[in-house]
Symmetry: C2
Subunit: 207 residues, 2 copies
Amino acid sequence: MAAHGRDSALPDDTRNPWTVHAAETRYSNPWITVVHHEVTNPGGGPGIYGVVRYRNHAVGAIPVDADGATWIVGQYRFPLGRYSWEIPEGGAPDGTPPLETAVRELREETGLSAGRWLELMRMDLSNSVTDEEATLYVAWDVVAGDSAPEETERLAVRRLPLGEAVAMAMDGRITDAMSVAGLIKLKLLALEGGLPADLMARVRRGL
Amino acid sequence: MAAHGRDSALPDDTRNPWTVHAAETRYSNPWITVVHHEVTNPGGGPGIYGVVRYRNHAVGAIPVDADGATWIVGQYRFPLGRYSWEIPEGGAPDGTPPLETAVRELREETGLSAGRWLELMRMDLSNSVTDEEATLYVAWDVVAGDSAPEETERLAVRRLPLGEAVAMAMDGRITDAMSVAGLIKLKLLALEGGLPADLMARVRRGL
């Protein structure tokens, strides 16, 4: 295709440039549906687009206790074929408020209940193929209890200073995108003064 | 399942706790393969696991010029059904070094060539279902040229101060996970002094 750098000087056209001629579900399980589309692409040529639709909205929670410690969860990730340390995460079924699921997942995976919750960020995790969206929270005023992982999970749980978890996200010991983005953003907010005062005090204690 | 919070006190068992009894490809196109597995889950019960395998390794590049400006790319993301502003991104086919693809994608999408490249981070983007991995770079000593997007792309390109792009990642105007994590990490590295001196000078000019 010819170079057309001048396109960038035009007003943004944010309309859908794809035309869908046919859509067919090719795979489905309780977590995902794979829909194959016959399309005309933005250049006007024929094409296909396989989209993976997620039934759940991803949630993650970064708990912070009075000492500035947080908790991370270790598990073997089947799709990657390797072990991964992450913030507590889960999936909110359609129609379930993400915060409600975050509260439940934090309790199931770590045993923690939190009195205060703050939405930290929303992200699209893999938007070239999937529609998966994630909402992350910070949870504080935490109280310990019993954990109760799902049958499909074999989890290790580790309490550590928040600054150590951020270091793991910065140096590649943590690679899960939600965990990396959430931990780094929390530190940057702390440095820039963008957190509620009581949370700020706890976070700074752990950094 | 009964509460078993004491598991977290055991040594980490990082072995694969899943047993696969059968694996079958249920969907395939030039970008993804969907493999359905019959499994025994970590709790010992029967289950299934549908994994989306990506043929490409995701790459992203954050260009920084002598004035501390960067470039972001706008496009309609078919899987999300909406428009998205992102750092320049692409997919490295199996066997292609991710850096080589990042160099090519930056040139195709923005027209920029860069004399210096630094690996910023690696992440797993959606590890509950997919094996998609991403490598992000910072690119500087940039020279402008002609862009040449692929036929399947209709891109808008915007040059802006790096600090403005970071602000978009922090406040939710940018939601793409690679872009959010990369931009925030770059700012945190700049604040903490963790960048090569010539890059640091450019980044600080833009913040």
